[in-house]
């Protein structure tokens, strides 16, 4: 296998992996403030792409307007999901909350299917131009957008957690919700913020990837599952680990399809997930402290 092929696998892997990473980031944010796994996370990704497509198709909006609009709409939906389904369930066992998020994901997916139909759609790339040759591999301009926006999100998050009161409060919630509320942090608000944030990064992931990979009402399931695997890989609750986990899974999938078997490519993320659960449940970058009974 020539080096250029290897490079190509890395390039494609990083592009797709960035979306897994953004999805994983969404899982992590909500897990940190609520302790639950939000199975509707993949649907935020789907909605990001679909709403952008349809604001162009039905609303006649140009791409630079449609994209931020779609991300904003999904963010608002994230808040709605929290207010309507999660907040009324406060104090209920985690099992119930997990089931509720599964229900919400079905509702969002079903709603998208009924409103937008079952067809697949394409979003135009953010910037025109042919593929850029790169040491024998080729790189789509959109890939640069994907990686750039992912990095920007990471930087913005770092600043948010380190420099703002809300960010610090969220970290406090992540450490100990009870203590945080005793210290006068409004946990409810923090949960809502985390849902908004997760929806936002999810929608961003969906909208930047849609020009490369197309979108449809049901793309959220697989993206959600893989994002979830990425989030465990990075250590549940660790935002930077989540993005790193996504990139690792993306690259491994691409290499796996290239060198092993393209048929089992989708299994790679989940084999990693199982191996981690068996061998190192705290994830690659987590604190090694998964409680044993």
């Amino acid at each position: 296998m020539p080096f250029s092929s290897f490079l190509q696998f890395i390039v494609s892997g990083v592009t797709v992996g960035a979306t897994y990473g953004l999805t994983a980031l969404g899982f992590t944010m909500i897990f940190n403030t609520t302790g639950i796994i939000n199975f509707a996370q993949g649907e935020f990704v789907m909605l990001g792409g679909m709403l952008a497509v349809f604001s162009m198709k039905w609303g006649g909006l140009p791409l630079p307007v449609a994209v931020p609009l779609s991300v904003l709409l999904v963010t608002a939906m994230g808040v709605g999901v929290d207010r309507l389904t999660i907040r009324p369930m406060r104090g209920k066992p985690a099992v119930s909350l997990v089931i509720v998020t599964i229900g919400v994901s079905i509702l969002l997916r079903g709603g998208a299917m009924l409103i937008f139909g079952k067809d697949t759609h394409a979003l135009p790339p953010f910037s025109e131009g042919a593929a850029i040759p790169l040491g024998g591999a080729s790189l789509l301009p959109q890939s640069i957008w994907v990686v750039g926006i992912t990095l920007a999100v990471l930087v913005a998050m770092k600043v948010f957690f380190d420099r703002t009161i809300t960010g610090k409060a969220m970290l406090a919630c992540a450490c100990d919700r009870k203590a945080a509320s005793l210290m006068g942090i409004n946990v409810d608000v923090m949960v809502t913020v985390s849902f908004a944030f997760s929806a936002l990064v999810g929608a961003l992931g969906g909208v930047i990837l849609a020009p490369i990979t197309l979108t449809a009402y049901d793309v959220g399931i697989l993206l959600g599952l893989k994002g979830f695997a990425a989030c465990i890989l990075g250590g549940l609750g660790n935002p930077f680990g989540a993005v790193a986990g996504g990139l690792i899974i993306g690259v491994l999938e691409s290499l796996g399809a290239g060198f092993l078997s393209s048929g089992y490519k989708d299994a790679i993320a989940f084999v990693i997930l199982l191996a981690l659960l068996f061998l190192r449940p705290s994830g690659l970058f987590g604190k090694a402290s998964a409680d044993r009974v």
Binding site: V11, L255, A257, G258, S262
Partner: protein, 382 residues
């Protein structure tokens, strides 16, 4: 008192309704099972739409044997289990005289024993050859078998001096059926399969597979799948600057594919397709010409989405059943079956059907034409 009056009025009304029903001829009930939702919805939705459209049209034209028809559609949600319960309901409760669909091979094979047992003819809209081979007494199908499509591709490739191909198939029922035929027919057609890659039907990136293929001796790529996978492949191929010819299956023969892949990425792709997609280029005097133009126009006007060959399968299935009822002058299941088997030279959207006791698909290779995508449109090759 008031209640009593109301009651007797209701009783009277009910009696009138019942009586009325008994006097007018009962509609002929035809069952349909389509995967309207679930992963196979891309098949089931156009099929359901088409069946409903054709039902209206037949009724507007006075129905069959002086009776209206009623198409009872159930959604199997792409799940064979649901198809099994639906077929029981169609046969035992709705008492249908024939069934069209299901959309998928799995559902068809799952219900085949049931229709055989219930002695109701089934005209499936699923592609696999296993449905009619070996022949089941009551089971027919309308789509061209993959064998025919594969033969067309290999013949075209051979003619253009291609002897080594890479195959890239979807890991779903459609793709794996194609993969099987592509591998089996290769040697006989004088073509060698030098790379055998697959992709998940929901995969978003095929660069890895294509990069791998690029490194082999393949002279052409044959891709087998339904949207969106092949569209992603068309895009990735362009991105990687792969210049060898790309063949697709009839599974993408709809304008939707060009839209998804993007005009410039779809340029030059070759595929076998039913004439439906190139209806305007079909010679005026071709027996399918009028039929195809009318179906395509009406479908697109009514449902506001591009017509696909999948809807055509349901069109053909219902037309075949209607034709069998007319020619056999009976709407009894057994009579319909016998009459179906005698179908000869019946032109429908997919091709010319001639059923025999040993052939329940009844199409020839002529059902397909080779088509090239040119400037965002379809060009029929001679």
């Amino acid at each position: 008192m008031e209640g009593m009056k109301l009651f007797s009025a209701a009783l009277l009304g009910g009696a009138l309704l019942l009586g009325g029903g008994a006097f007018a001829a009962e509609p002929i009930r035809i069952g349909a099972i389509f995967s309207v939702t679930g992963p196979a919805a891309f098949l089931g939705e156009p099929e359901r739409n088409t069946a409903k459209m054709l039902e209206d049209e037949i009724n507007k034209g006075g129905g069959l044997l002086g009776r209206k028809i009623e198409v009872v559609v159930y959604d199997d949600e792409s799940d064979p289990t649901k198809a099994v319960t639906a077929v029981d309901r169609l046969i035992k409760k709705d008492k249908v005289v024939a069934i069209i669909g299901p959309s998928t091979t799995g559902s068809t094979l799952a219900i085949a024993p049931k229709v055989e047992e219930g002695k109701v003819p089934l005209v499936s809209c699923a592609a696999a050859i296993d449905i009619v081979s070996p022949v089941r007494r009551f089971v027919f199908k309308t789509p061209q078998s993959d064998v025919l499509a594969v033969k067309q591709i290999y013949r075209h490739a051979k003619k253009n001096g291609i002897s080594k191909v890479a195959i890239l198939t979807a890991s779903d029922a459609f793709g794996s059926a194609g993969r099987k035929e592509l591998k089996e027919l290769a040697e006989k057609s004088g073509v060698a399969v030098v790379a055998d890659e697959v992709f998940g039907p929901k995969d978003t990136d095929m660069n890895a597979q294509l990069t791998k293929i690029k490194g082999t001796a393949a002279q052409a790529i044959v891709c087998w799948g339904t949207n969106p996978g092949p569209a992603v492949i068309a895009r990735n191929r362009k991105q990687l600057g792969i210049s060898m010819p790309l063949y697709m299956s009839h599974g993408v023969a709809s304008n939707k594919f060009i839209e998804l892949a993007g005009k410039e990425n779809a340029e030059g792709i070759l595929l076998p397709a039913g004439r439906l997609i190139v209806d305007e280029q079909v010679a005026e005097k071709h027996p399918q010409k009028k039929l195809l133009t009318k179906y395509a126009k009406e479908y697109e006007a009514r449902f506001k989405t591009p017509v696909s060959s999948f809807g055509g399968y349901a069109f053909d299935a219902l037309s075949l059943v209607a034709q069998a009822i007319k020619s056999g002058k009976s709407a009894e299941p057994a009579a319909i079956r016998d009459s179906l088997e005698k179908t000869k030279g019946f032109w429908a959207t997919t091709g010319e059907f001639t059923f025999t006791p040993s052939d329940h698909n009844g199409l020839t290779e002529d059902a397909f034409v080779m088509v090239r995508i040119t400037k965002g449109g379809w060009e029929m090759l001679k």
